[in-house]
């Protein structure tokens, strides 16, 4: 619920919540964001798999214990270190402009890099992503893929150009909830799995789905179950699998771990590191600064539709990003 608020709004909300508490009103605050819980909650009840696994004051709980109770695993923070970054950029964007959304956007992206795009809500990040994926036509500017100028006019074109997009809202934009998991995973690779005449065998679909279920440790016993039966994190994994089922040069992810539990979040981040190491160029759009700092080798900060700052490697930290935004 609170994932749609900016930092300013979150602060305002917390202020109000504290005021209500001081007035004697009991408040139940539901969230899976560690920072928020530690900031606002006096006591915390942690639930996992329908059971209450911890009940007590937040003051006597460490972050590591919190993560352990939430996921049942010990998790370690790994920061992304780029390897095998190509010398030539695979994606070049020059002076891309869309009136009312973003203007004069220019950047390069090399293979093996994870580029973070961050900024406040309304900074044009999502519109930029949609333009790179063919859903929003820019007014002017140029896009080059592997040194060739391209016009990305639709998602179908984008797929042909080996660009994939994991959308912001997986429920409305990423998944067909009432269809089987296997069908969701194979949706973008039907051409590859079918014969010339368009014939497709169910066992081919199941085989492909099995590959990804195993690879991503998706928690399901039957890939023919509806996608709605999965948790947020697993759902996000299917959307990821759907695109990775294709040969990709560039993968854009918009809010990849929004509404995802800590365990799946870690899984997805590790996946992205691995993909980058294997040569994929990744763009992560996120307003979760921790995520950006831990996973990106380069960060672009956007404000009001323009790029207002860029950070590289060791310079990337939450404070630096916030400084640029303000």
């Amino acid at each position: 619920m609170k994932t749609a608020l900016t930092k300013k709004e979150v602060h305002a909300l917390f202020k109000t919540v504290r005021q209500l508490r001081d007035r004697g009103i009991a408040i139940m605050f539901i969230s899976h964001k560690i920072d928020e819980i530690f900031e606002i909650a006096d006591d915390v009840a942690i639930m996992r798999n329908g059971r209450n696994v911890y009940l007590g004051a937040t003051s006597s709980l460490t972050r590591k214990e919190f993560t352990y109770y939430m996921t049942g695993r010990e998790l370690t923070d790994t920061r992304f270190c780029p390897e095998n970054v190509s010398a030539e950029p695979v994606l070049e964007v020059k002076n891309l402009t869309l009136a009312g959304s973003y203007h004069d956007i220019s950047f390069e992206l090399c293979k093996g890099e994870i580029l973070g795009v961050t900024g406040l809500l309304g900074s044009g990040r999502t519109e930029l992503a949609l333009s790179l994926f063919g859903l929003l036509k820019p007014d002017s500017g140029e896009i080059y893929l592997k040194d060739e100028k391209v016009k990305i006019s639709s998602p179908i074109e984008a797929q042909k150009l080996h660009i994939g997009y994991v959308p912001e809202d997986r429920l409305t934009e990423g998944l067909c909830l009432r269809q089987p998991i296997a069908d969701n995973i194979t949706l973008s690779s039907l051409k590859r799995l079918s014969s010339k005449l368009g014939l497709i065998k169910q066992k081919d679909i199941l085989a492909e789905a099995d590959v990804w279920v195993k690879k991503f440790s998706i928690a399901t016993d039957d890939p023919m179950k509806h996608a709605s039966t999965l948790s947020g994190g697993n759902q996000q994994k299917i959307v990821l699998a759907k695109w990775l089922s294709n040969e990709l040069d560039v993968l854009i992810l918009n809010g990849p771990t929004v509404g995802v539990d800590v365990g799946a979040k870690q899984d997805i981040h590790e996946l992205l590191h691995e993909l980058a190491r294997q040569g994929l160029a990744v763009i992560i759009i996120s307003d979760d600064l921790e995520e950006v700092v831990a996973n990106c080798s380069r960060v672009i900060v956007m404000k009001d539709g323009a790029i207002v700052g860029e950070l590289q490697n060791e310079d990337i930290c939450s404070q630096a990003i916030l400084n640029i935004i303000r």
Binding site: Y165, G174, L187, L190, S194, G198
Partner: protein, 344 residues
């Protein structure tokens, strides 16, 4: 395991149950008439008329688009065909050309059906008009054209050969209309189960936005589906021409509701993404049996079959809604939690 109708139990069994129940009821009432071979022969000729329509519309429903124009489109196509065929019988063209003209007329009807379907599809996919409105409008247009061309009268003068072909019995027992239905059924079943077209159909119906985001050509899929529906509708109307030996603007007026009723009855809701073709087949047969059985009772007129069908539909809707009610599932889960505590 949840199947395509989204229910925890097998919906097909429910429909089969209805069918069996209907058969039992009418066997008790009119055993000799129901099981006479003539009855089934008559049914085999009648049900393809609305059965073929239903199969075409089913494709549109699965992709999430309701179509109320299919009967009007079919009639329009068949009227054009009939007008063309009349040129042989009224002397405009020599009798020797009859066979050729009949063939051309059939082809004409199918092409017109396809074009009309393309119109529907384009309005919906390119202009973004909601399907109910687009097809309501085109229905008026098609019907209006039909009435304008025929001045409300039936187009007669169909060459004899047309009726002769239509009344052939293959292998002595399968009438041509039934054969056509079986062919269309086979094609639709094949499309739905074995092709990427079928997969995309269900996915788009389930969430067109996500399909678009997954690089599926939703526009082309909608157009293709409506073209297929148009061709099938024209085919079905040609069957009606065979039955009535003429073409008229308001033939099959009860079929619009009947086909939609059948589809909804077996879970193919116009919301999209659901339905099994087997269920549709069972429902078509069920409705036909009801209609035929009602005919056996001279005291009951034909409207009784509509009444029974509608009542069946409403009961089924209420039942499946109740059984599928998510609130009820939560309450049942809570009850399960309580029981072990009590025994402890």
């Amino acid at each position: 395991m949840k199947n395509k109708t989204g229910l925890k139990f097998n919906y097909t069994f429910l429909l089969l149950g209805f069918l069996v129940a209907i058969l039992i009821v009418f066997t008790i009432a009119k055993p000799t008439m129901l099981w006479a071979p003539d009855t089934w022969k008559a049914m085999a000729i009648q049900f393809p008329e609305f059965g073929v329509f239903t199969l075409g519309v089913m494709l549109c429903f699965i992709i999430g688009c309701i179509d109320v124009s299919f009967v009007a489109l079919g009639n329009f196509a068949s009227i054009l065909a009939a007008l063309l065929m009349r040129t042989v019988t009224d002397g405009t063209l020599p009798e020797s050309d009859t066979g050729l003209i009949v063939l051309l007329a059939i082809l004409l009807a199918l092409v017109v059906g396809g074009l009309g379907g393309l119109l529907n599809g384009s309005l919906i996919s390119r202009l973004g008009i909601p399907p109910i409105l687009a097809t309501l409008a085109t229905q008026m247009v098609f019907r209006g054209l039909s009435i304008a061309l025929t001045r409300g009268d039936a187009v007669t003068g169909i060459p004899e050969i047309y009726g002769e072909i239509g009344h052939i019995y293959l292998l002595g027992i399968i009438p041509v209309p039934m054969l056509i239905f079986l062919i269309v059924f086979a094609i639709c079943a094949f499309l739905l189960k074995c092709t990427t077209y079928g997969k995309k159909l269900y996915m788009i119906g389930s969430n067109p936005k996500a399909a678009r985001f997954s690089a599926i050509n939703v526009t082309r899929m909608i157009n293709v589906t409506f073209v297929i529906n148009g061709v099938i509708a024209a085919l079905s109307a040609l069957l009606m021409v065979n039955t009535y030996n003429s073409a008229k603007a308001d033939f099959g007026s009860s079929y619009l509701m009947r086909c939609i009723l059948i589809l909804v009855l077996d879970g193919v809701l116009p919301d999209g993404g659901m339905g099994k073709i087997l269920d549709v087949l069972i429902s078509i047969v069920t409705i036909q049996i009801i209609a035929s059985c009602v005919n056996m009772f001279p005291e009951l007129n034909t409207y009784y079959s509509s009444l029974i069908s509608a009542a069946l539909l409403l009961i089924t809707l209420m039942m499946t809604s109740y059984l599928f009610n998510p609130e009820r599932k939560v309450r049942r889960a809570e009850k399960k939690e309580e029981l072990p505590k009590e025994s402890a």
